[in-house]
Structure formats: C-alpha cells, structure tokens
C-alpha cells in the first residue's frame, strides 16, 4: 500500500466532503475517511485519476454523479495539485432558492390569495378549475387526516393478500414437512417436534406516475398527500411525478414530515406547473425504469389527459407499460364531473391500454381505489 495521506490532504478531503454535504449529497464521516485514504492511493497530479477515485468513494447513486462532477470542478478547480491554493467558490445555493417553483411554496402555505394567482397560470377550461376548488379548495387538517386514514386502509389491504407460495411459520395449521424431517434428525429420525408453514403474503407493488402540470395542480396536491401517507404505511411504492419530464420522488416522499417532503420535492422537481408531455414522460419511465414493471405491479397514472405532445407517443408508451405490468389504472379527476367524456386526443390514445379508468376527484373516490389495487 502507499504512504499515508498528508495532513494537508486530509483537510482538503474533509472540506470537499463538507461541500458535497452542503449541496445535498449523502456523505458520511466514513466516506470522508475513505476519501482521505483514497488520496494516498492515486496520482494526485493527475486530475482525472483524482476525480474518478473520489467519485468511486463519495458517489453512491447515479443521480449524484453530475452534481459531484460540478462540485469537483468547483472545489479542485483547474489546479491539478490539491496541495496548492484552494479555490472554493460559494455554492449557488442562494440563487437556487430563488429558482424554486412558485406554486410549491404556495402549496406549503396553502393560502387563498395564491389561488387567484394560480388562475392566471392554469391552462385549460375554466370550469375545471372551479371544480377543483370546490373539491379541495379548503384543505384543512381534518382532510389531511382523512387522506392518511384512507391510505392506511389501502395499505393494509395490499399488505395482507395471501400468495400461493409458502414460508416457514412459528405455528400454524399446516406442517412443514421438510423442516420437520430436518428437525427429526436431531432426535435420530424420530419426529418429536413439528415445524409449520403458512402462506406467504403476496407482494403487490405500486408504481405511481402523477401529473403535476398546471391543469392538474389542485388534484396533484391532494394526491401527493395521499401518496405520502401510502408510502409511509406500505413500502413497495415507487413514485414519479411528471409535467414536461419525469422525476422520481420515492426518496423524497420517504422523509419524515409532509412539509419537509414537499420542500425537498420543490428542490428536486423543476417543472411544476409547466406544460404536459405525458407521452414523453411515460416513455422516459419505460426506458429508464423498465425493471420496475412485472406481473405483480399495478401502475397508477394520475392525469387529466391534456397532452401537449404527440398522442401517438403516449399510446405507444402506455402500451409498453400495459404489456409488462399486471394492471394499469388511470385516475382522471375530471371523471368526477358530470357530463365529462374522455375526448381529448391524449385520453383517446391512452384508453385502449388502460384496465381501470376511474375518477379521483374526492376522498370517496380515493377510498374506492383499494378495489382496483389488490391483484
């Protein structure tokens, strides 16, 4: 092995790790130690070596790669030898805050005033909007608890479906022959102790793709609360949101409080309230996350079907999803309004590939969702 890293280098490694942490990368003290060790193992005059080495130790998921590269350049600068002068520029956190999408802050405050401002942003027919406000305009604590309760109920149903397969159990109605024999070996082939088995729980998995574009804003707000609660009581949920592009928000929804989760989402998702490219987003999903889909996965799409892209792309992408998932559920909040017919081109292209087309405009309709989710 090589000579130990000099103190100077350790200081630099520590500073760099702190910078990464400030920028939201997950860097533990253990990682910092590794980084310091790595500095002693590579050729420091070679910037590419240094970058690749630190990247191996400090980046644990591909999403963090670009951020790391940017910060690496920022920190180590064009200066090949890190023992030289440190060129630490301020991270652009201030400017990032300004770039936060407006609507999310409004969400967090939930102010009445903002609804007026939203009106100007929201495209689509105006009766849609007033309907949305009617349903969820006054979104109080009571409703929040109710959403959580509905989500828990659904989670419980999903988590208790018996499967065809068996697993060993502490006690039960059915003996586990193999284990019983195995136990009998201890007593010289005499069966003195019985082992039992029980049905495994069938693992339904959920993949949720929620439209958070302008026309969906009011519903998405409710639905995200619902997802947040669902994911807390039921682990096998993968959540994505899209408007013009797709973002995975499973991790963000895992964090503790709802407010925190939304704040994190705001930092992550840059396209809140943009236009809607459902097809392109679904396509990204099929391309980037194909292995999330299998015969035990229910895919839920929440969208009103106002597609600004090519409806054919939407049809193809949803067809690909449909072919691989156990079921595709399309929740359209507009279905809750009397006289609505799914005539938009996007909706028309999507419908052949949808197993269940259901409303999602109020709590009762979310409650009925459980029926469609259990395989």
């Amino acid at each position: 092995m090589s000579a130990p890293a000099s103190t100077d280098l350790v200081v630099h490694a520590t500073r760099f790790c702190r910078l990464l942490r400030e920028e939201g990368l997950l860097v533990t003290p253990g990682d910092t130690l590794d980084a310091a060790r790595v500095l002693g193992l590579v050729d420091l005059a070679d910037r590419e070596d240094l970058r690749l080495a630190l990247r191996g130790v400090l980046v644990h998921r591909p999403e963090d790669g670009p951020a790391f590269d940017r910060l690496f350049d920022e920190f180590w600068g064009g200066n090949p030898a890190p023992a030289g002068r440190l060129r630490r520029t301020r991270p652009p956190s201030g400017s990032q805050k300004e770039r936060l999408p407006l609507s999310l802050e409004q969400w967090l405050r939930g102010g009445e005033r903002d609804a007026e401002r939203e009106e100007a942003l929201v495209p689509g027919p105006s009766e849609l909007e007033s309907l949305g406000r009617q349903d969820f305009g006054s979104f109080g604590d009571e409703a929040l608890r109710e959403v959580t309760r509905v989500a828990r109920r659904i989670a419980r149903r999903l988590a208790t479906r018996p499967s065809r397969r068996w697993k060993p159990a502490r006690d039960g109605a059915r003996p586990h022959l193999r284990r019983t024999l195995r136990l009998s070996v201890k007593t010289g082939g005499e069966v003195s102790e019985l082992a039992f088995r029980q049905r495994k729980v069938r693992k339904t998995k959920l993949v949720v793709l929620a439209d958070v574009s302008g026309s969906m804003d009011l519903y998405a707000r409710l639905f995200l609360q619902f997802l947040f609660a669902l994911q807390h009581s039921f682990a096998r949920v993968e959540t994505f949101v899209f408007a013009t592009r797709l973002s995975r928000i499973t991790e963000q929804l895992r964090s503790r409080a709802y407010g925190e989760a939304l704040a994190e989402l705001a930092a992550e998702v840059r396209d809140w309230n943009g236009g809607t490219r459902i097809g392109a987003s679904l396509e990204t999903f099929v391309r980037e996350w194909p292995r999330l889909l299998d015969g035990r996965t229910v895919v839920i799409v929440l969208s009103d079907g106002w597609e600004t892209g090519d409806p054919e792309v939407l049809g193809d992408a949803l067809g690909a999803v449909h072919g691989r998932a156990a079921r595709v559920v399309w929740l359209n909040p507009l279905l809750g309004s009397p006289g609505y017919e799914p005539l938009t081109r996007g909706m028309q292209a999507a419908l052949p590939h949808v197993d269940v087309f259901a409303p999602a405009h109020d709590l009762a309709s979310l409650g009925r969702l459980a029926r469609h989710l259990a395989l």
Binding site: L41, H60, P62
Partner: protein
Amino acid sequence: MREEIRRIQQLMEGAGYVTDRSVATAVYLSTALGKPLLVEGHPGVGKTDIAKVLARVLDGDLIRLQCYEGLDATTALYEWNYPKQLLHIKLEERSDRPVGQREADIFSEAFLLKRPLLQAITHHGRPPVLLIDEVDRADEEFEAFLLEVLSDFQVTIPEVGTLRAESRPAVVLTSNRSRDLSDALRRRCLYLWIDYPSLDKELRIVRTRVPGIGERLAAELTTFMQSLRRQRLVKTPGVAESLDWAAALVALHATELDPALVQETMGCFLKDESDLRAVAARIEAGELAAMCSPAG
C-alpha cells in the same frame, strides 16, 4: 495516471475486457481499500464480466451468487444435507458407537451443503472473487443479511462454530436498478456506473471479442448499434447484443452490412416485437446507409 491503475487496465485488456480509466480506477480502489465494488448500468454493458475478468487477472476462483426474489440464507449461505443425514442415521443404527460421536458425524462438513457465500468464506488458497449478481432482484431482507456477511466475512453455524475467511474475497455486486438498493449497502461499497460505450470503445470491444471480423463490418456494425441506441426502443441493445450479432455475421461470412442481411439477422440484437417492426420500417425506407455512416 498511477502505475497500478494503468497496470490493472492493461491486465484487464489482456484478459479480453476492453475498459477505460473509470473502471480500472474503481477496480484498483476496490482491491486497495478492500471494499466491495457495486456496479450499476444498463443491461448488456459488461457488469458481470468485470468480476469474471477480475478473477482471471487476480488468478483466483470466481464464486457466483445469482440473486432472485425469495433468495434466502439456505440457498445463499449453507444448508444441512438432511437426506444424507437421515441415510447416515439409518446406516449407523446398528453400530455401537456412542451417540455423541454419531451426532458429531452427521454435523460434520461432509453433511454441509456449502452455498456461494460460505464457499467464498471457507475458500482455501488464493482469495476468490465473489460475484453477487443482480442484487436488486433479491428482497430487502436478504440485502440486510448480505450486509452482515460482507462486513466481517464470518459466519456462525450453531453445530460447527464460527467460520472466518482466511483471506477476504474480492467482492463485486451488480445491479440493474430494478429497485433502489438501501443506502446502507451503497455506503459499504465503492460505486461504479457503466454507461453504454462510446463508438470508439465499442469498436475496440467488437474487434477484441470477435477476432474474425472484418474492419469494414466492425465499423458499420458499431455505428449502426450506436445510432440504434439513440432511437426510441423498448429494449435498447447493449454491448452483449453487438457481440452476438457480430459473431452471427462472421459465421455468415459477411463483410459488410446490407439491408437484406440486417433484416435476416435483426433477432440477434432486437428482443422486442415492436422494436423489430420499427427498425425494419427504417431499413425498408432506405435509412441503413445513414445509420451506418459515422455522421448519422
């Protein structure tokens, strides 16, 4: 570049694995720090091959654990060979040896079925390379169990005692990202993301792995595959598919691509019916030449 990294790259290339600095650096650090290497990337970019080549380079045995949903300790670590134990008990029924001794017999190593993880731990001689393939397919419970084994490479079997690895195996984990691995596992590993190769690298891979291929065919084929990867497909072909196709074309004594040949052999690299149709349509529209020329 540091000498060791260059050497590893040379050794890997010598073993038939065309690689670049990021891979060589990751492999070097993994061996130097004694940490497992977690490799993620699209299907068919050579994740599993890293372990195979590493075994060849280190001159150690490759022990492979293929993960799947429902994989548990009995299939990954060890299991007692109970039919053999029962048989042994029956055979020994008449013997007058003391019970304690007979019991010790049936719980000896001869009756232990060693699964890959235990094999890696009890391996003698040069440290082996342990490949834990597609770890994302196993469930979270198994991941937790794996963490325990990987952290100290020792296993306690109640009837036998604690077994400790003589020499730490080099560990390579691969994942296709079908689900997110836990942060705990990620943090224990060095991380390497392998992307689709550049045209240049893919060309070198094809030349290295399919020795009989003509210069012109290799260039056309790789350019074609690169342009396919830019297209919207259900299953984007990886390098493995390029190699399959190249081998098939060599077997057909082809020296260049033509529309009929591509149509006939498309099954080598397109594994989805709608992809086949989409690409066939492009070729019928006379786009093959554009797809094979470096500018396209």
